[in-house]
Assembly symmetry: none
Homo-oligomer: 222 residues x 2
Amino acid sequence: MIRVLVVDDEPLIAQAHRAYTERIAGFEVVGVAHTARDAMAVLRTQEVDLILLDLHLPDRHGLDLVRALRAAGSGADVLAVTSSRDLGVVRQAVALGVTHYLLKPFTFAAFRDRMDRYALYRAQVREVSEVAAQHEIDRVFATLRGGPPDSLPKGLDPATFDLIRAALQAAGGLSATEVAARTGTSRVTARRYLEHLAEAGRAVRSPRYGGPGRPEVEYRPA
Amino acid sequence: MIRVLVVDDEPLIAQAHRAYTERIAGFEVVGVAHTARDAMAVLRTQEVDLILLDLHLPDRHGLDLVRALRAAGSGADVLAVTSSRDLGVVRQAVALGVTHYLLKPFTFAAFRDRMDRYALYRAQVREVSEVAAQHEIDRVFATLRGGPPDSLPKGLDPATFDLIRAALQAAGGLSATEVAARTGTSRVTARRYLEHLAEAGRAVRSPRYGGPGRPEVEYRPA
DNA sequence: GGGACGGTGAACAGAATGACCGTAATCGTG
DNA sequence: CACGATTACGGTCATTCTGTTCACCGTCCC
């Protein structure tokens, strides 16, 4: 369970964020604060993993709160949630290590995306305590900040997705052309979905050498 | 010009980092420090945009230095450079807002990649002072943390590249023909990638005499 | 009923590979 | 020491698949 502290000056908004958070598996809200002072108080008594922080607070700027947190040695991560479109603020937020920055108003999908990313990130850094290579570090950073996650991006149909995935699962290892032949879709479409699977880590790509001409890419279920 | 402070306890390494930095257009080194105390002193007298920070320092852990910096309100960004493979350290570094994390030893290409990314990030946040939409924020984050850019020349496939490199690493010293046999590629292809590795300084070539006929070229990982 | 959007496939430029072949470098022999 | 036999090198080119663009069609919303 990832323990979340929701901080927003408007009680209604804070409640909404709490509800949003609780709709996502793996997260629990351990506190709600409406001021920086309240937030600090909660942090003194509660273990908190992630702070959902509105930067606009009545007593203090949110970034100041983060600074104070860091000075105090707190390792809590911060997801900034604000309507401020000032890039200077974004830049400072980055420097202070916010995991992400959500502009209000946001959709639940966008919110869940950031939260899912964060959960995945935590799983990665918790799973092993040592890394062997630079690219593993890169993967951790990319998880937190990279492209869109598991929710199907635009242009991908759930039904087609299932079809392609099933075909791959059944055969074990197929090229885009072979998947196309088995599912009845075009190669282009098959490739689109296979590529998504690979991107999401649910399939691995490896080249197939031997014949003349450019090598084929084989996708195998992970 | 992006003003860089180089921090590393070993003078030789610090000089190397300084040289690396100065090879990249748009960056200038405004200071070199060997201890956390030195670094703080420089930061008090100099405007610094980016700190190239070795986490292993004689007087204090690098992350403590970052914490102190943040507490003091410094907005300098940090690129962590360390040989520590401890993921806990990585995690803390992320929370403190390091722009990236480079494992020693690293190639100049990897270093330049991170620096270029950072320069691009700065250009983005400086160009405009306001943002209109979430996706612009996302772009800024992705610039800083996105996946590694394929610095491979055209005609070379990343997957094949990894395959060849892995084969070489595992065996220690192989000819193009032997690599071909182990990877399933043709000799021509294997040689293409081995040549690239040699060119990039990641493998060394030495002839193998003894048998009849023209000597073979043996590639060994550098 | 019209417009916008989302998903698909056909066509195309070019990217990555293997086959072929002349050339280069060594060893063995007279 | 010279010369032929042998073996690998290194460049060129045909081949096949990739990845992208664009037009089409259905559907949903206004």
